[in-house]
């Protein structure tokens, strides 16, 4: 005879099961004529009269874009999920088991309810959603914070206008024209005046390849422009002080690359290279470089 009941004396503290009920998964077929279906929501019902009902529907549809590309309109997906949310919200007040709800669409289906338990309806909804709705952005996923060069230049310009006041227009440029062998173009630089030419770029990149390309293009333009106009060159890079949501190893390689390139440029060509983590700090550095020559020159 096996003494199974004796096991119970070894059991630890019970879990908080203030709420016991059923969790339902809601599946969505963006194309009702194709087999692909995705879990996009969860409903949890509890209580004798199903008076406790919680639900959550996927809001961020970006992963549908990854899967379908242009094969379905993103607006349609967004609209369908909004409509689903409204219908669930309405049905939740009915105190009818979710398995009997009519969603009125062949694109949506409520799966069979499964036992769930925990401290609160909200906790159960959240747990079920995180487990089942894999198209939702992961809460654990550190998202990459993007700062494009155009946006950084705009922010630096706004701050510089305040710092330089009336002098701003004397050195802020939107490229410098060049002509070579009957070809016309622009050196991609942002500041030019008093014998100095500078460019502001963003070093917030997902990969070292992007960072390399950005820095080498900037170096080529600013140094060629400086030679053509017999000016001193400067590169002002927005560069974070900690990883902007990329793997640590990639981040370390990027820091090493920027450090090495800065040393090379400053050592071999007297170029001024400044890396700062915010557009404000970058603007201060640009102004400190120009101020003695522009404001007091």
């Amino acid at each position: 005879m096996t003494n199974l009941r004796a096991l119970r004396q070894l059991a630890p503290q019970p879990a908080n099961k203030a709420v016991e009920g059923l969790a339902y998964l809601v599946t969505y077929k963006p194309d009702a004529t194709a087999p692909q279906a995705f879990i996009v929501g969860v409903i949890v019902q509890a209580g004798n009269n199903l008076q406790d009902c919680g639900y959550r529907v996927l809001q961020d549809i970006s992963k549908f874009k990854c899967i379908y590309g242009h094969r379905i309109a993103q607006d349609d997906v967004e609209w369908a999920l909004d409509e689903l949310t409204l219908r669930i919200a309405h049905a939740a007040k009915s105190h009818i088991p979710a398995s009997q709800w009519q969603l009125g669409s062949a694109n949506f289906r409520i799966e069979t309810g499964r036992y769930t338990s925990g401290p609160s309806i909200e906790a159960l909804v959240s747990r079920a959603f995180e487990h089942a709705v894999v198209l939702a952005p992961s809460q654990h996923e550190k998202r990459f914070n993007s700062h494009g060069t155009a946006s950084v230049r705009h922010q630096v310009a706004e701050r510089l206008k305040m710092l330089a006041g009336v002098h701003y227009e004397r050195f802020a440029v939107d490229g410098i024209p060049f002509e070579f062998n009957n070809r016309r173009g622009l050196y991609d630089v942002t500041h030019f005046g008093a014998g100095q030419v500078a460019t502001v770029i963003s070093g917030w990149s997902r990969s070292i390849q992007t960072l390399r390309t950005t820095l080498w293009h900037a170096t080529a333009d600013v140094s060629t422009c400086a030679r053509a106009h017999q000016a001193e060159a400067g590169i002002f890079i927005l560069f974070p002080t900690e990883s902007p949501g990329i793997p640590e190893a990639s981040w370390e390689r990027m820091v090493e690359f920027v450090t090495d390139e800065s040393a090379k440029l400053e050592g071999s060509s007297d170029m001024r290279v400044v890396a700062m983590p915010t557009p404000d700090e970058l603007a201060v550095q640009v102004w400190e470089w120009y101020e003695p020559l522009i404001a007091h020159g």
């Binding site: 096996t2 199974l4 009941r5 070894l10 059991a11 630890p12 969790a23």
Partner: protein, 274 residues
Amino acid sequence: MTLHILTEDHYLDFLQPVEDNQQNKTVHAARLHTGQPGEQVFVCKLLLPNAFELGNEAIAHYLARRASVPSPPEAAIVHMPARIASQRIPLSISQDYENAEGDVVMWCTKKLPYRSIRATFRAAADRTSATMRILKSESGRRMAAFDHLTGHADRHDGNYLWAGRDECVAIDNEALFGYSDWRAAPLAFATQNQLLEEMRRQVVGGSERADSLRDLQSGMVFYGESHSAAVQSAQSEISKLITLLYGAHAATNVLTCLHTRSAADWMKSELGLI
């Protein structure tokens, strides 16, 4: 090798059936409250309540990691009244799983990290060549040595999972000690190591070279040298649980057998290498 002892108070969510053409139709994924942080999803199966399979699973769990055999890091025994189980687990549960007191018992192993699609593959497509590949790997040889130590009599290709290229994880250890009942009498059984037997068959049939068999046996002897320490390390936990479930004499029977089979040169002698 944590083994949690839990009840219906710790069974949080039924997640879904795990369908794999297995004989046991109660296999399912569930979330359990173990008191540990992080995701606590386990693969659970009901076991016959009056048999010794539960004890075998627990013994193997306590021993496997100590013998460096790849196996699930955490496991749980969940005991609950059958009427509650039938409300929470929407699978057809035969009455055979219910004991006279109206209870059921589940053996649960923590879900393995999903490192590759193979993490869920059983070696079914090309059974023999898959088994041979496993037996030429370190983890396969460790598993073969472990099966010899414990007298595992049912290590077919459904009772280990692939966890990567040439890497396996031992699961389903219900058939230890030659499937002999160790609760009442001391153990005496003939070892039937299915992995070793399969290699022998392939060598005899000419599909494998004799070197492969020798390498496997050498590996088993080598890994068998750590078994004594593994048994020593696990014996107090095994003794405690088996005594609680089946009585002190059952624990003595099991540990006597394990000490004998983990002694120095036992494996060598068993494999005919001395």
